[in-house]
């Protein structure tokens, strides 16, 4: 009885979580353009997808920004984390508090603040400003993912390496980085997820020339989203889902990373 109740409850929660997603996937095969009715099965929107310049451009911007922001903020954040870990107590506390600002601040405040800065220094809003903004909000998360791993690190490890004749840079590459690698990977994954899904900060920093998928969807939402967007999202969603399931099957460790 209790077990049935639990199952029923979890079932309802999952229904709540998945209903909109299933609906979107269904719509991507719906030949009727109106979102209220079913006009029969079609793959038209998937075909259209490859013709639509607007969507293609937004997709490319989204991916390029996400990849660049992930690479840059992962490297930048890892280096910074190693530095922060070696700071004295007080400067470390100050740096970490500053680092937490973009994490704790509402996105909208981070967005308008960056927009204010860019406009004040006459930086044309566009690709560059959006990339900088993404690095600004991704790097803190990388640092937060890497720092705990550095803390767990045996402080004598680097010393042992150097005792055995390794130069500091060699010790860093061959001893420290491999040890904190899981932290770096999860930092990179968080960064990528945040960047690809971001709307608010991009909205304020992208200007009028550059549009990513989120901005495109927002601008279309009130009038009705093109069904091709549903098709694209279905493809992206399924790609992630398959990737997750594959990793999950391969190792439980990978799954933990993604969670």
């Amino acid at each position: 009885m209790k077990k049935t109740m639990k199952r029923l409850y979890m079932g309802l929660i999952f229904l709540f979580l998945y209903a909109p997603i299933i609906l979107l996937i269904v719509y991507s095969f719906n030949s009727s353009k109106s979102r209220g009715q079913w006009g029969g099965f079609t793959l038209k929107w998937y075909a259209d997808l490859f013709q639509d310049r607007q969507i293609k451009e937004a997709f490319i911007y989204t991916i390029v920004i996400a990849v660049l922001a992930t690479i840059i903020s992962t490297i930048f954040g890892t280096i910074a984390a190693i530095g922060i870990n070696n700071m004295r107590r007080f400067p470390r506390k100050v740096t970490l508090n500053l680092n937490n600002l973009p994490v704790l601040n509402p996105d909208i405040v981070t967005g308008v603040a960056l927009m204010t800065l860019f406009i004040s220094v006459n930086l044309q809003l566009g690709f560059m400003s959006m990339l900088i903004a993404h690095i600004v909000f991704c790097t803190p998360f990388v640092i937060l993912a890497v720092l705990p791993k550095l803390r767990q690190l045996n402080p004598h490890l680097a010393e042992a390496a150097m005792d055995l004749g390794a130069k500091p840079s060699y010790a860093l590459r061959k001893v420290i980085i491999p040890q904190i690698f899981p932290g770096i990977v999860s930092g990179a994954l968080i960064a990528f997820t945040l960047s690809i899904d971001d709307f608010v900060i991009s909205f304020f920093t992208a200007g009028t020339q550059v549009t990513n998928l989120s901005i495109l969807i927002y601008s279309m939402a009130k009038r009705g989203v093109k069904p091709s967007i549903n098709a694209l999202s279905t493809i992206m969603f399924l790609a992630v889902l398959i990737l997750l399931l594959l990793i999950n099957r391969k190792s439980d460790k990978g799954e933990e990373l993604l969670l």
Binding site: I13, P20, N86, V109, I217
Partner: protein, 276 residues
């Protein structure tokens, strides 16, 4: 060695100064001045924009944002706690899978999911068609606060479940056995041991839900139909269409302060909860 390693943090410190501190300072500066935002020499000290925030119309918007965020946080808590508990009590083999299924929806674009809710809740949307088939009267949820609430709960529920789950799953089983051993039944064990121990998770869950909920403009924009603007909508308007940065900045500062205060309150509760 240590001394040289810490140099690695300096470029990032500089970066933060330029892209975190300066922008926030500019927002603060604009909030306490008036004049042409493009020409610093015209700026002069003024609290006009704060005075404008105090007008009843805007106070109502702020109050409404606060209220809606609070209600959605409460709903997320009431819905999410049992989910976290059920997952934490699930056999280890299935636990991570269940958790994964909680997270997967977040991999679909946030705006698109909200858009899907428009399709479900709109006057002739999926829900009302379904009700029609059952012979029931259609619901008028969207546009309106109810729809905004559903959107918020939907989007932020995982943020409530995950931190609570993380704390619950770490509670040592032997503590539950000890409570059991000392005469507490399931209900008493929950209220005297499990719940107090899970307060840190609840606190971070509440923070993670309340903060984006109080500052959102997307959900209210799409599902609220502009009938009941939130503080996020106001800020967005000031910066994107009305171009009144001074007013927008004061609203941003107010929003930050509101969140800061609620976070301070929450962390106090956290400390009290885990030591009482």
């Amino acid at each position: 060695m240590r001394r040289r390693m810490k140099l690695l943090a300096y470029p990032y410190s500089l970066w933060m100064a330029v892209f975190v501190v300066v922008p926030l300072f500019l927002v603060f500066l604009y909030s306490i001045t008036k004049g042409d935002i493009h020409d610093f020499s015209t700026l002069e000290f003024s609290l006009d924009s704060y005075k404008r925030v105090a007008e009843p119309l805007f106070l109502k918007v702020i109050g409404n944002s606060f209220f809606l965020a609070l209600i959605s946080t409460v709903f997320c808590f009431l819905l999410g706690y049992p989910v976290a508990m059920i997952i934490a009590r699930t056999n280890q083999k299935y636990r991570n899978k269940l958790l994964m299924f909680i997270i997967i929806p977040m991999w679909m674009n946030f705006l698109l999911r909200t858009y899907a809710w428009m399709a479900i809740l709109s006057p002739n949307g999926v829900l009302n068609r379904f009700l029609g088939v059952l012979g029931l009267a259609p619901l008028e949820i969207m546009p309106g606060q109810g729809a905004v609430l559903i959107g918020m709960v939907y989007n932020f529920l995982p943020f409530m479940i995950l931190p609570i789950y993380t704390v619950l799953v770490k509670i040592d089983r032997s503590l539950l056995e000890a409570a059991d051993d000392l005469g507490a039944n399931k209900v008493k064990t929950f209220f005297r041991v499990v719940f107090p121990l899970s307060i840190p998770g609840v606190v971070s869950g509440i923070t993670m839900v309340f903060m984006p909920a109080v500052s959102t403009f997307v959900i209210s924009g799409l599902l609220g139909g502009g009938k009941t603007p939130l503080i996020g909508d106001l800020i967005e308007q000031q910066f994107m269409s009305d171009r009144n940065w001074h007013f927008g900045s004061s609203l941003s500062i107010i929003l930050m302060v509101m969140i800061l205060i609620s976070m301070a309150v929450m962390s106090r509760m956290d400390r009290k909860g885990s030591s009482a």
